[in-house]
Amino acid sequence: MNGRILARTFALVFLAWVCLLDTWAQDSVRGGVLQFNRDVRPILADHCYACHGPDSHSRKAKLRLDQRASALGANREGAAIVPGKPELSEMVFRIHNKDPDEVMPPPELNKPLSPAEKEILVRWIAEGAKYEKHWAFELPDTATLSTVKKTDWERNSIDRFILARQERENTSPSIPANRETLIRRVTLDLTGLPPTPEEVAAFLRDNKQGAYERVVDRLMSSTAYAERRAQDWLDLARYADTRGFADDKMRRIWPWRDWVVRALGRNQPFDQFTIDQLAGDMLPEATDEQRLATGFHRNAPQARGQTYPVEEYRIKGVIDRVNTIGRVWLGLTLDCAECHDHKFDPITQRDYYSVLAIFNNVEHSGSGHGQGGPTMKYKLPPSKQDSANASERKRLKDALALALKAMPKPPSIKDEDIVGKWNGPVVEKDPQKYSLTKNLTISAKIRTKQPVADLVSKYDWRGKQRGYVFGIGGEGDKDSVPGHLFFWVSSRAESFHGITVYGSQPVNDGEEHVVAVEFVAGKSVRLFVDGIEDKAAKTTGAPPSFIAKSTRPLAIGAGYNSSPQANAYRFKGELGEVRLSDQAVGDQLTMGAAGKQVAELQAKLRKLDEQKGAPKIVDAVPVMRERAKPRDTFIHVRGSFLDKGDQVSPAVPELFAVSKESQPSNRLEFARWLVDGKNPLVARVVVNRFWQSYFGHGLVRTPDDFGAQGRPPSHPRLLDWLANEFVESGWDMKRIHRLIVTSATYRQSSRVPSDASGRDPENLLLAHMPRIRLPAEQIRDQALAVSGLLVRKVGGPPVYPVHPANYWKQRALPGKWTNSRGGDRHRRTMYAYWRRMALHPSLEILNAPARDNCVVRRDVANVPTQALVLLNDPIFTEAASAFASRLLTEVEGTDAQRLERAFRLALGRSPQPAELKQFLSFLEHQLEELIEDQAWALVCGALLNLDETITRP
């Protein structure tokens, strides 16, 4: 031992001794043995891991303090840590050093240790420097419930954990909230809407056991419940109606949003919910619903510029997917490892890109503004109106079939009017013949199953010899419908100038049909099937005043694929009675009264089809689809996609200790791995967020960081119990939500105890229920509900609530917002058009996120612009006026009775006498100058602005 070490040892023994003495004297709370996870890791992580932690690139002196083996070295004197011997530990020497070259952490890091932190480190080494695995990476404990002194409080096991900690820290729960508060709380929480006065009254009347539970069950089975839960998921999924970036164009991903509402409504188990969304497209025999579910990861912002390097912005989308998985399922800040090994958690850059390799195989195509990923045509599920229409349609169809059966044999063109007649396929020899130039009528008797065939043609577009052609399936043209009649006529041979007509019904059903067309030059075209005019035929263009002369011979039952051959579109089947007239004699072909009846039935059917309203098929819904051949994935050195490091293969982060053989190789296997019930994080992370939606904060207050830098859980055993309960129940989401809202903890009063700010300012012990300002959507939804304006239609394309005029223009943004009219003006706010780069300003001001990335918790600030929105935004002034007129029309009585109703609608309670007096005198004063409606609108506006109104009690 040289002199320096000797001196150092003496100094340190003394120092350590002084420190320990000091600690024990001052801090009796910490009398017990230190716990690495609770007491030590946070200090090491914050002050040391940056250079002596998991990141291999920034590691100094080859020392890791996050791993005991490295910290102890060969376990001899002078190692960073010598267990039990602080005086011999280099770390202790360094942290107390005054020499700027020796002291740790180095001054330039600006992370000095406080005296208290130094003491903890010294004591921890003295106590043997025991490490623990980070709590969140251990499987949840199967905890037994603690015993508690107060035995008459608990309603379910949640309460035992909450009470146990309260008793340990000498506090006790608040009294239960009164019933009016309780039903308002649970209705707002579960459905995002206030209870109606009738619902409140029914609950107050229900004195039987289980009244509250009955309310909970009623609420949880409502669609509003699914909508409210979906709203939280939309934040996590960064759902928006636009693609993001400067371009920020709309995309049709709202069917995915409606899928979420349906999935949560039927309480799809969370494991299936996960698998469908991450990899539904890869499931064997995936349904449309499962493919639609994968829209989850297509919510990632997607640049569509022309100047961007395409690959860079494709990669940005994939990175967003990996980061979102990290935040939503794993509660890990994976994003830190995009550019380098994680500084605090055991996640390497290799881990990061191994996960990225799993999500890197989705198709990506197009260029410039057409860039994007896979899409699907999504068929919307039928609505109630649809099923009503369906039975009516069946009735009409049956009647139509009967009427058709009763029809006499349809006529064909009279002999005296024809210029030619044929049976079976034939091509005329003389090409000059039958070049009709004005009117014409053709009829024929057919029996075929062919989708495409010409009947009568003097029309060869490939050879630039156009004239007229009548047949089935329009020669395969993109606007035609296979199996339906068509007729083309052009006044120019070389290019098309004329009209195209496509029939509305198939004629290739293998039955015999008499089909006909009548062309009146410059006037009209009519198609006939079995003696009935096809009034729903689609025409494009105008009837020309003459027909071009085609040099092709007239072909019956054949067409021309290229001149001069005449064998394309050959008719197969029975073809007879083909008659051609040079006059407009369509009237000869109709069928009188019987035909009229059929035509009427057909018209009714058509009308029914038109009533369908919104399109039933939604085009181009973004979804996931795996490439046949996976892309090669490389580590991006320092996060640059151009700087390729090692190639990586799909794998989960090493910390999860998955063997090589069981590594997931694709999205589906990865999704199944996430929810196999053996992951230490997933269930905890999810139930923690459920908890957060009712208490404002999770049991872990950093809901997306369960790692070393996150906050440890306030009630670790409760978190574990809930996580186990969740998995064991088969990932039953409603079960966990129900457990939470039926607990005694949830039913406490929200009055803040007078000593709370000193004793437990963060309310970690939950000795009272926190009050929570409503989310932006619920502030508007409630105003609409209270005023009677709310339209409860579920799902569909986004709607456009009232928006300040020219707002986008003033903000120098392209596009124009057109306020929705009719019912859509007053739909639930979750259906509002969500533009990433310019959210509806009132929602933005009320702290709704623009969702340009995954949001795990909204921050709620209290700023004056919110007051301006609630007081002056037409959304809210309109609601106040509607609320007022509702009171004036619905309540025929005194002003006091109206106020009673107003309070019950807005606050779910009656006014107290003093409040009634105050409001009446305000009203009276206003009525001196204002008419009744205006005065009441001010009253109602005041009610909608109360803190009590916009806060979940």
């Binding site: 912002p301 100047t307 830190c336 963060e762 919110q866 001010l938 506006g941």
Partner: protein, 480 residues
């Protein structure tokens, strides 16, 4: 914040507690403990409510006006003459310039050098060189600190603006104004501390919400964009039939109910709400007073070329002075229309024509009111423009150029009359004294009394700041 509750110490304490409650997660319990001891104004700070208890250095600037020339002005046409560029006009770009070069944003193929058609001359006693496009600015040359050696990291608009505002190309990070609001709080209790004003040509690049975003900071630090229409702040005006008096009566009823409810549930947040409704009421008076330029003297109006009621960049410059005069911490003006890919001669003439006089007026006006001393004025775009032409012939323009460009500052402790840094002979790359955007940010914070290394916010386990993890330094040479 202390001004907000002037004379109401209990509200002050409550508001602070509420604030702490909100931000406790970000600060960590140790910081929380030390903040709880904080009473009164921070040392060296006017106003309050910021997290910084004490400035790291004496502040040279107390507020900032940032003139953002959105789209990117051309340095070689305004501040950085290059004789060789003019000489070689029309020749293909020398290959050595394309080393270490990002691909062009829009130019394809090998472009040709394009000289500047403008004459340049030294201005003022300091001899700062400017082109003939800026005749007014020439008269205040001796107030400016011109940086010819700016560098940024991207040639794409919105990531470029993010870089200038947030120090990163990413979305979702706090902007400079949000950082200052977070750190220093506000000096005015009737107005937002961070105001954004926009002007210019509607066909320019769009201005995104994130350009004045609060990122992960509390949303009260978000910039408030003043709109050009009759209502500068959304919903400032009471609905028809509700005058100020009636609104007062309604607010009294709301407050009466809120205070009553506070007695019942004892939640301090309710008193914060009462306070924010009161501030909204005051803003309804203070903002129209503020934005009413007709109160300004004729000579001031003509100095700026401002025309009350007709939105313009000139009006915004005058409004900026009125804002900082009232203690608003950070005012950012976006002037659109500088993105001249074609017709640059026409477009830059138009932009300079609209901006030159009002900017000059702003500097003169701030100076004569004694405000320039502690108000930092910053001018610049998200990048410069290429010394090569995009499109040849008369309709030529210039593409985005991140490798070298010019910005300038004035007042607030910068060294007046200075030209800093050099570009190479073509104005293509920085040749001497490079100033990266991060260095500019470090310098701006320094002028405001903040050490960029020590001004951090814990987010997702990281200590994040304006200048990020890549190297950044205070450019001492720019300081007075």
């Amino acid at each position: 914040m202390s001004d907000l509750f002037h004379g109401k110490p209990h509200l002050q304490a409550l508001a602070r507690r509420t604030f702490l409650k909100d931000s406790a997660m970000g600060l960590g319990s140790i910081a929380l403990a030390s903040l709880l001891q904080f009473e009164g104004h921070a040392d060296g700070l006017e106003g309050g409510g910021g997290v910084l208890r004490k400035l790291h250095f004496p502040a040279r600037a107390k507020r900032v006006i940032y003139l953002f020339m959105a789209g990117g002005p051309s340095h070689v046409d305004l501040f950085d003459p290059k004789p060789l560029l003019n000489e070689m006009d029309g020749k293909k770009i020398p290959p050595h310039l394309l080393k270490d070069h990002q691909s062009f944003a829009l130019i394809r193929g090998t472009p040709s050098l394009k000289g500047s058609p403008y004459s340049f001359a030294p201005r003022g006693q300091s001899g700062i060189i400017m082109s003939e496009l800026l005749p007014h600015l020439a008269t205040v040359a001796d107030e400016l600190t011109v940086i010819r050696s700016m560098k940024t990291t991207t040639n794409v608009h919105d990531p470029g603006v993010n870089m200038m505002n947030c120090g990163t190309q990413l979305f979702g990070r706090p902007t400079l104004g949000a950082w200052l609001s977070y750190g220093l709080g506000s000096e005015n209790n009737n107005l937002p501390g961070y105001v954004v004003l926009t002007s210019g040509y509607d066909d320019g690049q769009p201005l995104l919400q994130s350009f004045w975003g609060n990122g992960f900071l509390d949303s009260r630090h978000q910039g408030v964009p003043f709109l050009k229409g009759p209502e500068p702040v959304l919903h400032l005006t009471n609905p028809k039939g509700v005058d100020r008096n009636r609104r007062r009566q309604q607010l009294d009823l709301i407050n009466w109910m809120n205070k009553r409810h506070h007695e019942e549930v004892n939640d301090p947040e309710i008193l914060s709400r009462v306070a924010s409704y009161e501030m909204a009421y005051r803003m309804q008076a203070s903002v129209p007073e503020l934005t009413d330029l007709s109160k300004e003297s004729k000579s001031t109006l003509s100095l700026y070329g401002a025309n009350p009621g007709k939105p313009s960049f000139a009006n915004n410059c005058l409004l900026a002075r009125r804002l900082v005069e009232r203690g608003v911490r950070f005012v950012q003006l976006y002037d659109r229309g500088w993105d001249s890919h074609t017709h640059i001669e026409h477009e830059h003439k138009r932009q300079c024509g609209a901006a030159d006089r009002p900017i000059t007026a702003l500097i003169k006006d701030l100076k004569q009111r004694g405000l320039l001393e502690d108000t930092l004025v910053i001018w610049g775009g998200e990048f410069g423009r290429t010394p090569v032409a995009q499109v040849s012939g008369k309709t030529y323009g210039r593409d985005h150029h991140p490798h070298a460009f010019t910005m300038w500052m004035a007042g607030g402790g910068t060294k007046p009359g200075l030209t800093y840094g050099e570009t190479n002979e073509f104005g293509y790359h920085v040749a001497e004294n490079p100033v990266h955007v991060r260095d500019l940010h470090a310098t701006i914070l320094h002028l405001l009394g903040i050490d960029h290394h020590r001004f951090k916010y814990k987010f997702k386990g990281l200590d994040l700041g304006l200048t990020g993890v890549d190297p950044s330094r205070v450019v001492k040479g720019l300081l007075a």
